[in-house]
Amino acid sequence: MSRTALLFLMGMLIYQAAHTQKIIGRQGQVSFFSYTSVENIKARNNQVSSIIDLNSSDIAVSMLMNAFVFEKALMREHFNESYIETDIYPKASFVGKIMDFEPNQNTSQVKIIKGTFTMRGMSEELEIKTKIEPQGNLLVLSGSFETKVEAYDINIPPLLAGNIAKTITVDFIIEHEPYVEN
């Protein structure tokens, strides 16, 4: 799915949120970890956006790739300029559906979210085991998944190949609240 199509779908979900039963997460957190014997790399992004349509169980998540904060400035520089090329590919998106979702359930549920994750113009089909937990008027989605660096055509110089894991662990937690149009 092209970036334009993903943005269009995200826009449609936001538009529909005003008219149907939608919930929005404005400040979700996504972290990733790369573990190798040479170096461990961790980064987190606290400003991830998400929309869920409670009627259709559709979910659309979007994040600014340049908003990841690293332990070291040099790691962030390499990530933005050499690996992700955030000037060319500023956003990553996930568009999918929560399988067998029970939106009215007032206890915790664990569901599979099937969808397409797109980064650097490359897409990967993912199935993500996700905990869905009601907390007052919030619905909190959290989970973890692994993805392979090679799926996103990231150009890592041979000299640095040992510093970056082939499989990256991604953790997420996103609080959703009712979408209210003003």
Partner: protein, 138 residues
């Protein structure tokens, strides 16, 4: 011996310059740094809707109405809104050294926040922000 001393001074100076250059702009205190522009929340949101690269990665000073203060993800965050664009926020993730209680702000008041603009999703996102002023100390 004198030659060695010059090399040592040159090496030390270079190291200091390199380390200084590596200081993370997303963590350092930007209080003393000049913003490239001073905008209202509305001007920022309209600018980003027209062009997603609008002042991207630049230090901006943004004035808006404070609608929410939260500590999501372990960080203090200020959410501001403009006068006309009510459905989108300017989200300011504050510098890690700023905690609730350090600054006297309350929801509904007009504040000015300085931060690094990262871009636009449903809302404008600024990181490593500092509070420039509130209408209490104007």
């Amino acid at each position: 011996m004198l030659h060695f001393r010059y090399i040592l001074i040159l090496f030390t100076t270079s190291l200091v310059l390199v380390l200084h250059g590596c200081e993370d702009i997303l963590k350092k205190d930007i209080s003393a740094m000049d913003p490239i522009a001073e905008l209202s929340a509305d001007e920022l949101l309209f600018g980003l809707e027209e062009d997603e690269n609008f002042y991207k990665e630049e230090i901006l000073s943004v004035e808006g109405s404070l609608v929410e203060v939260n500590t999501k993800n372990g960080n203090l965050n200020f959410l501001m809104r403009g006068n006309t664009n009510q459905n989108h926020y300017v989200i300011c993730e504050m510098n890690h050294s700023i905690t609730l209680g350090n600054k006297d702000v309350s929801e509904g008041e007009t504040i000015v926040v300085k931060g690094i603009l990262k871009g636009y999703l449903n809302d404008a996102v600024l990181l490593n922000c500092v509070l420039d002023k509130t209408n209490k100390n104007e």
